[in-house]
Amino acid sequence: MNFLELLNAVAKLARPIHFETVSIIDMETKFKDIGLDSLDGLIMMMYLCELYGIEEEISKEWNPQTPQEMHDLLMAHKTREPASVEEAMKQCK
Protein backbone atom coordinates (compact mmCIF):
# COMPACT_ATOMS: atom_id res chain seq x y z
CA MET A 1 0.00 0.00 0.00
CA ASN A 2 1.23 3.47 -0.89
CA PHE A 3 1.73 5.30 2.43
CA LEU A 4 1.52 8.76 0.83
CA GLU A 5 -1.78 7.85 -0.75
CA LEU A 6 -3.08 6.76 2.66
CA LEU A 7 -1.74 9.91 4.29
CA ASN A 8 -3.50 12.14 1.74
CA ALA A 9 -6.78 10.30 2.27
CA VAL A 10 -6.48 10.62 6.05
CA ALA A 11 -5.55 14.32 5.77
CA LYS A 12 -8.66 14.94 3.69
CA LEU A 13 -10.77 13.25 6.33
CA ALA A 14 -9.13 15.03 9.23
CA ARG A 15 -9.35 18.58 7.95
CA PRO A 16 -12.60 20.56 8.10
CA ILE A 17 -14.28 20.40 4.69
CA HIS A 18 -14.24 24.17 4.31
CA PHE A 19 -10.44 24.20 4.46
CA GLU A 20 -8.47 24.03 1.26
CA THR A 21 -7.25 20.54 0.36
CA VAL A 22 -3.56 19.91 0.96
CA SER A 23 -1.40 17.63 -1.07
CA ILE A 24 1.33 15.55 0.58
CA ILE A 25 3.69 14.80 -2.27
CA ASP A 26 6.83 13.41 -0.64
CA MET A 27 8.06 11.80 2.57
CA GLU A 28 10.41 14.59 3.65
CA THR A 29 8.49 17.88 3.42
CA LYS A 30 7.43 19.09 6.85
CA PHE A 31 3.69 18.99 7.56
CA LYS A 32 3.65 22.65 8.54
CA ASP A 33 5.15 23.62 5.17
CA ILE A 34 2.24 22.06 3.30
CA GLY A 35 -0.41 23.78 5.39
CA LEU A 36 -1.19 21.12 8.00
CA ASP A 37 -1.35 22.58 11.49
CA SER A 38 -0.76 20.83 14.81
CA LEU A 39 -4.46 19.98 15.28
CA ASP A 40 -4.60 18.45 11.80
CA GLY A 41 -1.52 16.42 12.74
CA LEU A 42 -3.09 15.23 15.97
CA ILE A 43 -6.30 14.03 14.43
CA MET A 44 -4.43 12.37 11.56
CA MET A 45 -2.32 10.54 14.10
CA MET A 46 -5.43 9.31 15.88
CA TYR A 47 -6.81 7.85 12.68
CA LEU A 48 -3.53 6.24 11.78
CA CYS A 49 -3.11 4.71 15.24
CA GLU A 50 -6.58 3.21 14.94
CA LEU A 51 -5.72 1.78 11.51
CA TYR A 52 -2.39 0.35 12.69
CA GLY A 53 -3.70 -0.92 16.03
CA ILE A 54 -1.59 1.33 18.24
CA GLU A 55 -2.73 2.39 21.72
CA GLU A 56 -3.32 6.13 22.14
CA GLU A 57 -1.22 6.02 25.32
CA ILE A 58 1.81 5.07 23.22
CA SER A 59 1.24 7.59 20.44
CA LYS A 60 0.40 10.64 22.48
CA GLU A 61 4.05 11.40 23.13
CA TRP A 62 4.92 11.34 19.42
CA ASN A 63 5.54 14.51 17.49
CA PRO A 64 6.39 13.57 13.91
CA GLN A 65 7.28 16.51 11.68
CA THR A 66 7.36 14.72 8.32
CA PRO A 67 5.56 11.82 6.61
CA GLN A 68 8.74 9.76 6.95
CA GLU A 69 8.91 10.29 10.71
CA MET A 70 5.24 9.39 11.01
CA HIS A 71 5.74 6.28 8.90
CA ASP A 72 8.70 5.12 10.98
CA LEU A 73 6.83 5.48 14.26
CA LEU A 74 3.81 3.62 12.93
CA MET A 75 5.93 0.79 11.55
CA ALA A 76 7.80 0.41 14.84
CA HIS A 77 4.64 0.03 16.92
CA LYS A 78 2.00 -1.41 14.60
CA THR A 79 -0.03 -4.46 15.63
CA ARG A 80 -1.95 -4.63 12.34
CA GLU A 81 -1.99 -2.92 8.97
CA PRO A 82 -4.78 -1.92 6.58
CA ALA A 83 -4.75 -3.93 3.34
CA SER A 84 -5.55 -0.95 1.12
CA VAL A 85 -6.42 2.73 1.20
CA GLU A 86 -10.02 1.84 0.34
CA GLU A 87 -10.24 -0.56 3.27
CA ALA A 88 -8.67 2.01 5.59
CA MET A 89 -11.17 4.66 4.58
CA LYS A 90 -14.03 2.23 5.11
CA GLN A 91 -12.69 1.53 8.59
CA CYS A 92 -12.44 5.24 9.40
CA LYS A 93 -16.02 5.82 8.37
Binding site: A14, I17, H18, F19, L39, L42, Y47
Partner: protein, 371 residues
Protein backbone atom coordinates in the same frame (compact mmCIF):
# COMPACT_ATOMS: atom_id res chain seq x y z
CA UNK B 1 -22.82 56.98 13.04
CA UNK B 2 -21.35 54.10 11.01
CA UNK B 3 -24.04 52.23 9.07
CA UNK B 4 -23.94 48.41 9.47
CA UNK B 5 -25.00 46.14 6.64
CA UNK B 6 -25.73 42.45 6.41
CA UNK B 7 -23.82 41.57 3.24
CA UNK B 8 -23.75 37.76 3.05
CA UNK B 9 -25.52 34.93 4.81
CA UNK B 10 -26.10 31.19 4.72
CA UNK B 11 -28.54 29.18 6.82
CA UNK B 12 -29.11 25.52 7.67
CA UNK B 13 -32.31 24.28 9.23
CA UNK B 14 -34.81 21.59 8.42
CA UNK B 15 -38.56 21.14 8.51
CA UNK B 16 -37.99 17.36 8.51
CA UNK B 17 -38.42 15.68 11.85
CA UNK B 18 -38.08 12.26 13.36
CA UNK B 19 -39.35 10.59 16.50
CA UNK B 20 -36.71 9.71 19.07
CA UNK B 21 -38.27 7.04 21.23
CA UNK B 22 -35.08 5.75 22.85
CA UNK B 23 -34.67 8.69 25.21
CA UNK B 24 -36.30 9.19 28.61
CA UNK B 25 -38.84 11.63 27.20
CA UNK B 26 -39.70 10.40 23.68
CA UNK B 27 -40.10 13.37 21.35
CA UNK B 28 -39.91 14.45 17.73
CA UNK B 29 -36.85 16.45 16.69
CA UNK B 30 -35.79 18.38 13.61
CA UNK B 31 -32.35 17.14 12.64
CA UNK B 32 -29.84 16.27 9.93
CA UNK B 33 -28.97 12.57 10.46
CA UNK B 34 -25.78 12.99 8.39
CA UNK B 35 -24.29 15.20 11.11
CA UNK B 36 -23.88 12.03 13.15
CA UNK B 37 -21.85 10.29 10.44
CA UNK B 38 -18.70 8.88 12.04
CA UNK B 39 -19.57 10.53 15.37
CA UNK B 40 -19.14 7.23 17.18
CA UNK B 41 -15.49 7.16 16.13
CA UNK B 42 -15.02 10.01 18.60
CA UNK B 43 -13.02 11.88 15.97
CA UNK B 44 -15.84 14.01 14.61
CA UNK B 45 -17.78 16.51 16.63
CA UNK B 46 -21.41 16.82 15.56
CA UNK B 47 -21.66 20.63 15.85
CA UNK B 48 -18.73 20.89 13.45
CA UNK B 49 -20.62 18.79 10.89
CA UNK B 50 -23.58 21.09 11.38
CA UNK B 51 -21.40 24.19 10.94
CA UNK B 52 -20.03 22.80 7.69
CA UNK B 53 -23.53 23.14 6.23
CA UNK B 54 -23.19 26.94 6.30
CA UNK B 55 -19.44 27.26 5.74
CA UNK B 56 -19.68 27.79 2.01
CA UNK B 57 -16.23 27.35 0.45
CA UNK B 58 -16.92 29.92 -2.28
CA UNK B 59 -18.01 32.56 0.22
CA UNK B 60 -15.01 31.85 2.47
CA UNK B 61 -12.76 32.14 -0.55
CA UNK B 62 -14.39 35.49 -1.41
CA UNK B 63 -13.81 36.78 2.13
CA UNK B 64 -10.17 35.69 2.06
CA UNK B 65 -9.67 37.33 -1.32
CA UNK B 66 -11.38 40.59 -0.42
CA UNK B 67 -9.97 41.82 2.86
CA UNK B 68 -11.36 45.03 4.31
CA UNK B 69 -10.19 46.90 7.44
CA UNK B 70 -10.25 45.20 10.81
CA UNK B 71 -12.16 41.91 10.84
CA UNK B 72 -13.65 40.02 13.75
CA UNK B 73 -14.98 36.46 13.95
CA UNK B 74 -17.63 35.53 16.50
CA UNK B 75 -18.81 32.01 17.19
CA UNK B 76 -22.18 32.14 18.92
CA UNK B 77 -22.34 28.69 20.42
CA UNK B 78 -25.34 29.06 22.69
CA UNK B 79 -25.34 26.36 25.34
CA UNK B 80 -22.44 24.55 23.67
CA UNK B 81 -20.45 24.27 26.85
CA UNK B 82 -22.71 21.53 28.08
CA UNK B 83 -24.50 20.27 24.97
CA UNK B 84 -22.94 17.24 23.37
CA UNK B 85 -21.50 15.84 26.55
CA UNK B 86 -24.35 13.43 26.99
CA UNK B 87 -25.44 11.39 29.98
CA UNK B 88 -23.38 8.22 30.09
CA UNK B 89 -26.34 5.90 30.68
CA UNK B 90 -27.42 6.10 27.03
CA UNK B 91 -26.25 3.84 24.27
CA UNK B 92 -28.19 5.07 21.27
CA UNK B 93 -27.49 6.73 17.95
CA UNK B 94 -26.76 10.02 19.70
CA UNK B 95 -24.07 8.53 21.96
CA UNK B 96 -20.45 9.31 21.29
CA UNK B 97 -17.33 10.04 23.27
CA UNK B 98 -14.65 12.41 22.05
CA UNK B 99 -11.22 10.95 21.59
CA UNK B 100 -9.64 14.38 21.70
CA UNK B 101 -11.44 16.80 23.99
CA UNK B 102 -9.87 20.11 22.85
CA UNK B 103 -11.74 19.87 19.54
CA UNK B 104 -14.99 20.18 21.44
CA UNK B 105 -13.98 23.52 22.95
CA UNK B 106 -15.82 26.34 21.24
CA UNK B 107 -12.87 28.71 21.22
CA UNK B 108 -10.61 26.11 19.58
CA UNK B 109 -13.21 25.53 16.89
CA UNK B 110 -13.70 29.29 16.49
CA UNK B 111 -9.98 29.91 16.09
CA UNK B 112 -9.69 27.12 13.56
CA UNK B 113 -12.71 28.23 11.55
CA UNK B 114 -11.71 31.90 11.63
CA UNK B 115 -8.54 30.98 9.73
CA UNK B 116 -10.71 29.90 6.81
CA UNK B 117 -12.18 33.43 6.61
CA UNK B 118 -8.85 35.17 5.99
CA UNK B 119 -6.93 37.60 8.12
CA UNK B 120 -8.70 38.07 11.45
CA UNK B 121 -8.05 40.74 14.08
CA UNK B 122 -10.22 39.25 16.81
CA UNK B 123 -11.77 35.86 17.47
CA UNK B 124 -14.33 35.39 20.21
CA UNK B 125 -17.11 33.07 21.34
CA UNK B 126 -20.42 33.60 23.06
CA UNK B 127 -22.38 31.27 25.32
CA UNK B 128 -25.48 33.32 26.11
CA UNK B 129 -27.67 30.22 25.91
CA UNK B 130 -30.58 30.44 23.46
CA UNK B 131 -30.15 34.21 23.08
CA UNK B 132 -26.55 33.79 21.93
CA UNK B 133 -26.75 34.56 18.22
CA UNK B 134 -28.99 37.59 18.71
CA UNK B 135 -27.00 38.79 21.72
CA UNK B 136 -23.90 39.00 19.53
CA UNK B 137 -25.68 41.59 17.34
CA UNK B 138 -24.85 43.97 20.20
CA UNK B 139 -21.20 42.94 19.79
CA UNK B 140 -21.40 43.49 16.03
CA UNK B 141 -22.81 46.96 16.66
CA UNK B 142 -20.09 47.78 19.20
CA UNK B 143 -17.21 46.51 17.10
CA UNK B 144 -18.23 48.39 13.97
CA UNK B 145 -19.50 51.59 15.58
CA UNK B 146 -17.03 51.99 18.44
CA UNK B 147 -13.95 49.96 17.60
CA UNK B 148 -13.55 50.70 13.88
CA UNK B 149 -14.03 47.14 12.67
CA UNK B 150 -15.16 46.92 9.06
CA UNK B 151 -16.24 43.31 8.94
CA UNK B 152 -17.70 41.10 11.65
CA UNK B 153 -18.33 37.48 10.71
CA UNK B 154 -20.82 35.58 12.83
CA UNK B 155 -21.07 31.82 12.83
CA UNK B 156 -23.77 30.40 15.02
CA UNK B 157 -24.16 26.70 15.53
CA UNK B 158 -25.61 24.51 18.20
CA UNK B 159 -26.57 20.88 18.21
CA UNK B 160 -29.52 20.62 20.55
CA UNK B 161 -30.23 17.08 19.39
CA UNK B 162 -28.21 15.41 22.10
CA UNK B 163 -29.16 12.99 24.83
CA UNK B 164 -28.40 15.66 27.43
CA UNK B 165 -30.62 18.32 25.90
CA UNK B 166 -33.52 16.01 25.04
CA UNK B 167 -33.53 14.71 28.59
CA UNK B 168 -33.06 18.10 30.24
CA UNK B 169 -35.79 19.86 28.27
CA UNK B 170 -38.09 16.86 28.62
CA UNK B 171 -37.66 16.88 32.36
CA UNK B 172 -38.14 20.65 32.50
CA UNK B 173 -41.42 20.14 30.57
CA UNK B 174 -40.22 22.71 28.04
CA UNK B 175 -40.41 20.57 24.89
CA UNK B 176 -43.47 19.00 23.37
CA UNK B 177 -43.19 15.30 24.11
CA UNK B 178 -44.55 12.52 21.96
CA UNK B 179 -47.08 11.77 24.69
CA UNK B 180 -48.46 15.30 24.34
CA UNK B 181 -48.43 15.14 20.54
CA UNK B 182 -50.48 11.92 20.71
CA UNK B 183 -53.24 13.88 22.43
CA UNK B 184 -53.45 16.14 19.36
CA UNK B 185 -51.31 19.03 20.57
CA UNK B 186 -49.17 20.62 17.86
CA UNK B 187 -46.27 23.04 18.22
CA UNK B 188 -47.45 26.64 18.21
CA UNK B 189 -47.09 29.92 20.07
CA UNK B 190 -49.48 32.52 21.50
CA UNK B 191 -52.35 30.07 21.00
CA UNK B 192 -54.97 28.89 23.48
CA UNK B 193 -54.88 25.22 22.37
CA UNK B 194 -51.55 24.38 20.75
CA UNK B 195 -48.23 25.11 22.40
CA UNK B 196 -44.60 24.21 22.79
CA UNK B 197 -41.69 23.35 20.54
CA UNK B 198 -39.50 20.53 19.36
CA UNK B 199 -35.72 20.63 19.53
CA UNK B 200 -33.96 21.30 16.23
CA UNK B 201 -30.50 21.46 14.74
CA UNK B 202 -29.56 24.71 13.04
CA UNK B 203 -26.69 26.94 12.01
CA UNK B 204 -26.17 30.29 10.34
CA UNK B 205 -23.25 32.23 8.90
CA UNK B 206 -23.61 35.98 8.46
CA UNK B 207 -21.26 38.76 7.47
CA UNK B 208 -21.85 42.29 8.74
CA UNK B 209 -19.86 45.12 7.22
CA UNK B 210 -19.43 48.85 7.61
CA UNK B 211 -20.68 51.23 4.94
CA UNK B 212 -17.11 51.94 3.86
CA UNK B 213 -16.44 48.21 3.41
CA UNK B 214 -19.62 47.83 1.38
CA UNK B 215 -18.62 50.76 -0.84
CA UNK B 216 -15.08 49.44 -1.19
CA UNK B 217 -16.41 46.12 -2.53
CA UNK B 218 -19.39 47.60 -4.38
CA UNK B 219 -21.75 45.16 -2.64
CA UNK B 220 -25.54 45.10 -2.59
CA UNK B 221 -26.47 44.37 1.05
CA UNK B 222 -29.43 42.28 2.16
CA UNK B 223 -30.36 44.37 5.19
CA UNK B 224 -29.21 47.06 7.57
CA UNK B 225 -28.64 46.34 11.26
CA UNK B 226 -29.89 49.48 12.95
CA UNK B 227 -29.17 48.52 16.52
CA UNK B 228 -29.23 45.82 19.16
CA UNK B 229 -29.39 45.46 22.89
CA UNK B 230 -29.35 42.73 25.53
CA UNK B 231 -30.74 42.93 29.02
CA UNK B 232 -31.62 40.94 32.12
CA UNK B 233 -34.61 41.27 34.40
CA UNK B 234 -34.86 41.37 38.17
CA UNK B 235 -35.49 37.73 38.88
CA UNK B 236 -34.25 35.07 41.24
CA UNK B 237 -35.17 32.31 38.82
CA UNK B 238 -32.45 32.04 36.19
CA UNK B 239 -34.43 29.62 34.05
CA UNK B 240 -37.78 31.38 34.22
CA UNK B 241 -39.29 34.50 32.71
CA UNK B 242 -41.16 37.21 34.56
CA UNK B 243 -44.84 37.44 33.68
CA UNK B 244 -44.61 41.21 33.18
CA UNK B 245 -42.07 40.72 30.37
CA UNK B 246 -39.51 42.98 32.01
CA UNK B 247 -36.51 41.38 30.33
CA UNK B 248 -38.00 41.47 26.83
CA UNK B 249 -39.19 45.06 27.35
CA UNK B 250 -35.76 46.24 28.49
CA UNK B 251 -34.10 44.59 25.48
CA UNK B 252 -36.65 46.11 23.07
CA UNK B 253 -36.34 49.61 24.53
CA UNK B 254 -32.57 49.41 24.47
CA UNK B 255 -32.51 48.28 20.84
CA UNK B 256 -34.85 51.12 19.84
CA UNK B 257 -32.71 53.63 21.73
CA UNK B 258 -29.49 52.57 20.03
CA UNK B 259 -31.25 52.36 16.65
CA UNK B 260 -32.73 55.84 17.16
CA UNK B 261 -36.19 54.62 16.19
CA UNK B 262 -39.63 54.86 17.80
CA UNK B 263 -42.07 52.08 18.75
CA UNK B 264 -44.35 52.97 15.82
CA UNK B 265 -41.49 52.34 13.35
CA UNK B 266 -41.44 48.62 14.20
CA UNK B 267 -43.95 46.80 12.02
CA UNK B 268 -42.77 43.18 12.03
CA UNK B 269 -41.60 41.17 15.03
CA UNK B 270 -39.81 37.86 14.90
CA UNK B 271 -40.66 36.57 18.31
CA UNK B 272 -38.68 34.15 20.43
CA UNK B 273 -41.95 32.24 20.24
CA UNK B 274 -41.22 28.99 22.04
CA UNK B 275 -44.92 28.60 22.78
CA UNK B 276 -44.42 27.69 26.42
CA UNK B 277 -47.00 29.21 28.78
CA UNK B 278 -44.32 31.29 30.43
CA UNK B 279 -42.85 32.67 27.20
CA UNK B 280 -46.29 33.32 25.66
CA UNK B 281 -47.22 35.50 28.61
CA UNK B 282 -43.91 37.25 29.09
CA UNK B 283 -43.24 38.07 25.44
CA UNK B 284 -46.82 39.06 24.61
CA UNK B 285 -47.04 41.36 27.63
CA UNK B 286 -43.76 43.05 26.75
CA UNK B 287 -44.73 43.51 23.11
CA UNK B 288 -48.14 44.89 24.02
CA UNK B 289 -46.62 47.39 26.44
CA UNK B 290 -43.73 48.47 24.24
CA UNK B 291 -44.78 48.56 20.59
CA UNK B 292 -47.73 50.16 18.79
CA UNK B 293 -49.05 48.48 15.62
CA UNK B 294 -47.15 45.39 14.53
CA UNK B 295 -47.47 41.82 13.28
CA UNK B 296 -45.61 38.96 14.93
CA UNK B 297 -44.38 35.64 13.64
CA UNK B 298 -42.33 32.68 14.89
CA UNK B 299 -40.20 30.03 13.19
CA UNK B 300 -39.73 27.43 15.93
CA UNK B 301 -42.87 25.56 14.91
CA UNK B 302 -41.36 24.96 11.43
CA UNK B 303 -37.75 24.12 12.21
CA UNK B 304 -37.71 23.40 15.92
CA UNK B 305 -35.86 25.34 18.57
CA UNK B 306 -32.33 25.60 17.26
CA UNK B 307 -31.18 26.88 20.64
CA UNK B 308 -28.27 29.35 20.46
CA UNK B 309 -28.60 29.61 16.70
CA UNK B 310 -32.28 30.46 16.76
CA UNK B 311 -32.18 34.25 17.14
CA UNK B 312 -30.05 35.03 14.12
CA UNK B 313 -31.05 32.00 12.05
CA UNK B 314 -34.76 32.81 12.32
CA UNK B 315 -34.06 36.48 11.54
CA UNK B 316 -32.26 35.50 8.35
CA UNK B 317 -35.14 33.20 7.39
CA UNK B 318 -37.59 36.08 7.93
CA UNK B 319 -35.52 38.48 5.82
CA UNK B 320 -35.46 35.84 3.08
CA UNK B 321 -39.23 35.27 3.34
CA UNK B 322 -39.85 39.02 3.20
CA UNK B 323 -37.76 39.22 0.07
CA UNK B 324 -40.00 36.49 -1.32
CA UNK B 325 -43.03 38.62 -0.50
CA UNK B 326 -44.47 37.32 2.73
CA UNK B 327 -44.33 37.23 6.50
CA UNK B 328 -45.20 33.66 7.48
CA UNK B 329 -47.99 32.70 9.85
CA UNK B 330 -47.23 31.08 13.18
CA UNK B 331 -47.96 27.46 12.41
CA UNK B 332 -50.82 25.58 14.07
CA UNK B 333 -52.66 28.63 15.36
CA UNK B 334 -56.25 27.61 16.11
CA UNK B 335 -57.62 31.16 16.38
CA UNK B 336 -57.86 33.81 13.69
CA UNK B 337 -55.30 36.43 14.62
CA UNK B 338 -54.03 39.37 12.59
CA UNK B 339 -51.29 40.32 15.08
CA UNK B 340 -49.78 36.97 16.17
CA UNK B 341 -50.29 35.82 12.62
CA UNK B 342 -52.57 32.91 11.92
CA UNK B 343 -52.23 33.54 8.16
CA UNK B 344 -49.23 34.66 6.12
CA UNK B 345 -49.35 38.26 4.91
CA UNK B 346 -47.47 40.57 2.58
CA UNK B 347 -44.72 42.38 4.50
CA UNK B 348 -45.95 45.73 5.84
CA UNK B 349 -43.67 48.75 5.27
CA UNK B 350 -41.47 49.27 8.30
CA UNK B 351 -38.71 47.87 10.44
CA UNK B 352 -38.15 44.36 11.73
CA UNK B 353 -37.48 43.60 15.37
CA UNK B 354 -36.04 40.22 16.35
CA UNK B 355 -36.29 38.86 19.85
CA UNK B 356 -34.59 36.03 21.69
CA UNK B 357 -34.38 34.83 25.25
CA UNK B 358 -31.97 32.50 26.97
CA UNK B 359 -31.71 30.63 30.22
CA UNK B 360 -29.58 32.44 32.71
CA UNK B 361 -31.83 35.48 32.41
CA UNK B 362 -30.84 37.04 29.12
CA UNK B 363 -33.06 38.84 26.64
CA UNK B 364 -31.92 40.21 23.30
CA UNK B 365 -33.45 42.43 20.66
CA UNK B 366 -32.12 43.60 17.31
CA UNK B 367 -33.67 45.91 14.74
CA UNK B 368 -33.18 45.42 11.01
CA UNK B 369 -34.26 47.20 7.87
CA UNK B 370 -34.80 44.88 4.92
CA UNK B 371 -33.25 46.20 1.68
Amino acid sequence: MQVIYLTHFRTASTTDYELFDDVVFPQKVHWFPDTYTRAKSGLFYVPHRLAEKVLDSKLLSYLRGNPVGKTAFILAGGNAHFAGIGPRHYDNRLSYVYKFMPFSLTQVFAGRTAQACGSIDMVTTDASACASSLKVMMDVQNLIRHYDFDRVIVLTVEDGVTNAVLEFFGEAKAVLTQKQEETGIKPSAFDSKNFGFRIGQGAAFAVFESERAVNQQDLTPHAELLGAYSASENSTNAIGQRENGEGFAKAMSGAMHYSKVNPEDIKIVKTHGTGTASNNLSEKTALGNTLKAFVATSYKQKIGHTMGSSGLLETLLLLQDMKNGFVPAIENRTETDSVYLSESISPPEGLVMSLAAGMGNIYSAAIFKGL
